[in-house]
C-alpha cells in the first residue's frame, strides 16, 4: 500500500464523519455570504420602502420589512459580515491576551504560579457576559467596546488552558536545558513552549469564534454593542423583538442565523480536533455498524 502523506490523512479523517462535511459546507456558505451579501444586497438593506412599513412576508420581501420599511431578509444576510468580523476579532483578542498571560503564569515560580492560577479561576467563576458588561461600561458602548469587552472577558478561558498545558511542558527536559543554556523567558515562551502546546489552543480558538459571535451579538442585542446605523445580528434581533407580536420573522431570522453559525463553527472545531488527533481516527472507524462487537465484549468483562 502506498503511504499517504500526513496532510492527506488529516483531510481524510476530517471528511470521514458527516459533521465534517456539514461544517465545511455551512461555514463556506456563511463566509461567501459575508463577502457577497453586502455587495449585492447592501443597497436593498438600507432602502426604506415607506409603502409597506412593518409588513409581513410577501413575494417582494420574503421575511417582511422592519419599522422603517427595510427588507428584513436582506438586512439579515448583510449583517453576516459584521457579525463574523466582530466575533473573529473578539476571539482573536481573547486569544492574543489569554495565551501569553497563561504562558507567563506557567513560567512563574511556585507561589506566584499558584496565585496566578487562583486569580484566573476566580475570573472564570463569573459569567463571561457579566465581565463583558462591566468592561463595556468602562470602555464605552459601541462596536469597539463590545469587541474589547468580549475579548477581555473571555481571555481567562485561554489563559487557563494555556497555563495548564504550558505548566506540563515547563516540567519537560527540553525546557530545563533551554533554561540552562540561558534562553531568555520571552524566547522560551514563544519559541520553546507555545509551539509545543499550540494545537489544542488553536482548536479552542476556532471553537471560541462561535462563542464570541454569540457574546458580541448578545451585547448588541442588549443595546450596548453595535449602534445604529450599523447592525449585526444582535442589533437586528433587538429591533425585531420590539415588533415581535405582529411580525415574528424580524427576530426569528437573526436568531436562526446566530444558532446556525454557532453550530457550524462547533462542528468545524470538532472535525478539526478529530482530524488532528490520530487517536480519534480509529474511533471514527469503530463507530461504523458491525465494528461494535469488540467494545461490547470489553464492557462485559
Amino acid at each position: 500500500m502506498k503511504r499517504q502523506s500526513q496532510t492527506r490523512r488529516v483531510v481524510v479523517a476530517f471528511f470521514r464523519a458527516p459533521s465534517g462535511w456539514i461544517a465545511i459546507v455551512s461555514v463556506g456558505i456563511l463566509v461567501v455570504l459575508a463577502i457577497v451579501a453586502p455587495i449585492v444586497l447592501g443597497r436593498d438593506a438600507n432602502q426604506s420602502n415607506f409603502a409597506d412599513l412593518s409588513a409581513g412576508a410577501s413575494s417582494a420581501h420574503l421575511l417582511g420589512t422592519d419599522q422603517l420599511g427595510r427588507d428584513v431578509l436582506a438586512r439579515m444576510l448583510v449583517a453576516t459580515r459584521l457579525s463574523l468580523e466582530l466575533g473573529t476579532a473578539a476571539a482573536a483578542l481573547a486569544f492574543g491576551l489569554g495565551v501569553p498571560l497563561g504562558a507567563i503564569v506557567a513560567l512563574l515560580g511556585h507561589r506566584a504560579r499558584d496565585a496566578g492560577r487562583a486569580l484566573i479561576n476566580i475570573f472564570l467563576s463569573f459569567p463571561s457576559l457579566l465581565l463583558a458588561l462591566i468592561i463595556v461600561t468602562i470602555v464605552g458602548i459601541g462596536t469597539n467596546g463590545a469587541v474589547i469587552a468580549v475579548g477581555i472577558g473571555s481571555a481567562p478561558y485561554f489563559a487557563r488552558l494555556t497555563e495548564s498545558l504550558a505548566s506540563a511542558a515547563v516540567g519537560r527536559e527540553y525546557v530545563a536545558s533551554a533554561r540552562v543554556i540561558g534562553i531568555k523567558p520571552r524566547r522560551l515562551v514563544f519559541r520553546y513552549i507555545l509551539p509545543n502546546v499550540a494545537e489544542p489552543i488553536v482548536i479552542m480558538g476556532i471553537t471560541y469564534i462561535a462563542g464570541a459571535i454569540i457574546d458580541v451579538s448578545a451585547l448588541s442585542f442588549l443595546g450596548v454593542g453595535v449602534q445604529p446605523p450599523a447592525y449585526d445580528w444582535g442589533a437586528l434581533l433587538n429591533a425585531g423583538l420590539q415588533n415581535f407580536y405582529p411580525d415574528p420573522a424580524g427576530a426569528l431570522g437573526p436568531a436562526v442565523m446566530i444558532a446556525i453559525t454557532a453550530l457550524a463553527v462547533n462542528f468545524l472545531a470538532e472535525g478539526l480536533a478529530r482530524a488532528l488527533n490520530p487517536a480519534l481516527w480509529t474511533a471514527a472507524k469503530e463507530l461504523r455498524p458491525g465494528a461494535l462487537r469488540p467494545r461490547k465484549l470489553a464492557r462485559q468483562q
Binding site: 463569573f126 459569567p127 457576559l129 461600561t137 464605552g140 436568531a255 444558532a259
Partner: protein, 347 residues
C-alpha cells in the same frame, strides 16, 4: 470514621511540617478530621479573596471610566465649582485606597450610594429587583435539574450496553444541537412558539405565575441538554457496575434499581458540573430577562449601562457576582460532602 495519619497519604510530608509549625492545628487535627478543617479554611480563604476581587473590579468601574463622574451627574452645563463640590461630596478627590476602603465599608453595610438617574438609594432598588431574579433563577434551576437528570437517565437506560443505537444518535444530535444554542436565541424561539403562535404564555413582562415559565425554560433548556449528556455517561457507568447486576439478579423492581441505586450515583456527575451550570444560569438570566422584560437585576443592569448610572451598575454587578460566589461555594461544599475523595482528598 477512622482518622488517617497524615504521614501515610501522598503529600503528607509537607502537611505534617505545616502542622508542627502551627501547634494549634495539631490538636485540631486530633479532634477533628484535619482534612475537613483544612478544606473549610481553604474554602473560606477562597471566598474572601473572590469577594475582594469582586469589590476591586466593581470599584474599578468608576475609576476607569474616561471623564469625571461628577460632571456626568450634573451634565455639561454645570459650573466647574458645582462639579468640584460634588466631586468632593462623592469623595472622588481622596486617595484611591481611602476611596476603596470607603466603598468596601459602604458595600458591607448595603450603602451603595444613590442612583444618578432616579436619586433612589441603590440598595433599595436592588432589594426590589432581587426577588424576581431569584425566583426566575430558582425555577430555571429546578427545570434544568429535572429535565437534565431525567432525560439523561432515560437516555442512559435506553442505550446501555449499546442498545437502541438510533436513540443514541438522536440523543447526541439533540443535545449537541440544543446545547450549543445560546439562551437568548432559545428564548426567541420559545417565545415564538408559545407566546406568538400558541398564545399559551404572555410574551413579556411579569404578570402572574405563568410569566416565569418561558424565561425559565429559555435559561434552563440549553443547560439541561448539556447536563443530560453528562448524566447519560454517568448512568452508563453505573449500570455497568457489579452491584447493579446483583440488584437485578435479586429481582429488585426497576424503579427501585433506578431511583435507589442509579440516581444517587448519577447525581455525583450533576454536582461536579454544578458550578458551570449555575454560572450558566446567572449569565443566561442577565440576557433572557431582557428578552422578556423581566423586572430583575439583569434588566436593571442593562438599562443602567447606556444611562451611565454607575452606582446602579456597580450595585447590580456586585449583587449578581455575590450570588455567583455564594452558589459556587455551596456547590464546592456539596461536592465535598457527596464525593469527599475528589474534593478533600481521602476520608
Amino acid at each position: 470514621m477512622q482518622v488517617v495519619s497524615p504521614t501515610v497519604e501522598p503529600g503528607g510530608a509537607s502537611r505534617s511540617r505545616v502542622m508542627r509549625k502551627h501547634g494549634i492545628y495539631d490538636s485540631v487535627q486530633r479532634l477533628f478530621r484535619q482534612k475537613w478543617v483544612a478544606f473549610g479554611i481553604g474554602r473560606l480563604v477562597h471566598l474572601v479573596v473572590t469577594l475582594l476581587v469582586l469589590l476591586v473590579v466593581t470599584f474599578a468601574i468608576v475609576q476607569l471610566i474616561p471623564g469625571n463622574p461628577a460632571r456626568l451627574v450634573l451634565g455639561p452645563k454645570a459650573s466647574p465649582q458645582a462639579v468640584e463640590v460634588l466631586r468632593h461630596k462623592l469623595g472622588l478627590d481622596e486617595p484611591l485606597v481611602t476611596q476603596f476602603l470607603h466603598y468596601a465599608k459602604g458595600a458591607l453595610r448595603l450603602r451603595l450610594g444613590n442612583s444618578f438617574t432616579t436619586g433612589q438609594p441603590v440598595s433599595s432598588i436592588l432589594l426590589q429587583r432581587l426577588p424576581y431574579t431569584l425566583w426566575l433563577d430558582g425555577v430555571a434551576l429546578v427545570i434544568m435539574m429535572l429535565v437534565g437528570v431525567l432525560f439523561g437517565l432515560l437516555a442512559g437506560a435506553l442505550t446501555t450496553a449499546h442498545r437502541n443505537r438510533w436513540f443514541e444518535i438522536v440523543f447526541m444530535g439533540i443535545t449537541g444541537f440544543g446545547g450549543g444554542v445560546p439562551s437568548y436565541v432559545c428564548a426567541v424561539g420559545l417565545s415564538f412558539i408559545f407566546a406568538v403562535t400558541l398564545r399559551i404564555f404572555p410574551v413579556a413582562g411579569m404578570n402572574g405565575a405563568s410569566s416565569v415559565v418561558l424565561p425559565a425554560l429559555a435559561i434552563a433548556l440549553p443547560l439541561s441538554l448539556l447536563l443530560a449528556r453528562v448524566v447519560r455517561v454517568a448512568t452508563l457507568d453505573v449500570l455497568a457496575q457489579d452491584y447493579i447486576r446483583t440488584a437485578r439478579s435479586n429481582r429488585l423492581s426497576i424503579w427501585r434499581i433506578y431511583f435507589r441505586y442509579v440516581l444517587p450515583n448519577v447525581l455525583n456527575a450533576a454536582v461536579s458540573l454544578g458550578g458551570l451550570l449555575f454560572v450558566g444560569i446567572i449569565g443566561g438570566s442577565v440576557v433572557v430577562e431582557n428578552v422578556f422584560a423581566w423586572p430583575g437585576l439583569g434588566t436593571l443592569l442593562v438599562q443602567s449601562i447606556p444611562a451611565l448610572d454607575y452606582p446602579v451598575i456597580q450595585g447590580a454587578t456586585l449583587l449578581l457576582g455575590l450570588i455567583v460566589v455564594l452558589l459556587n461555594t455551596v456547590v464546592d461544599v456539596v461536592r465535598a460532602l457527596v464525593d469527599p475523595q475528589a474534593a478533600v482528598g481521602g476520608p
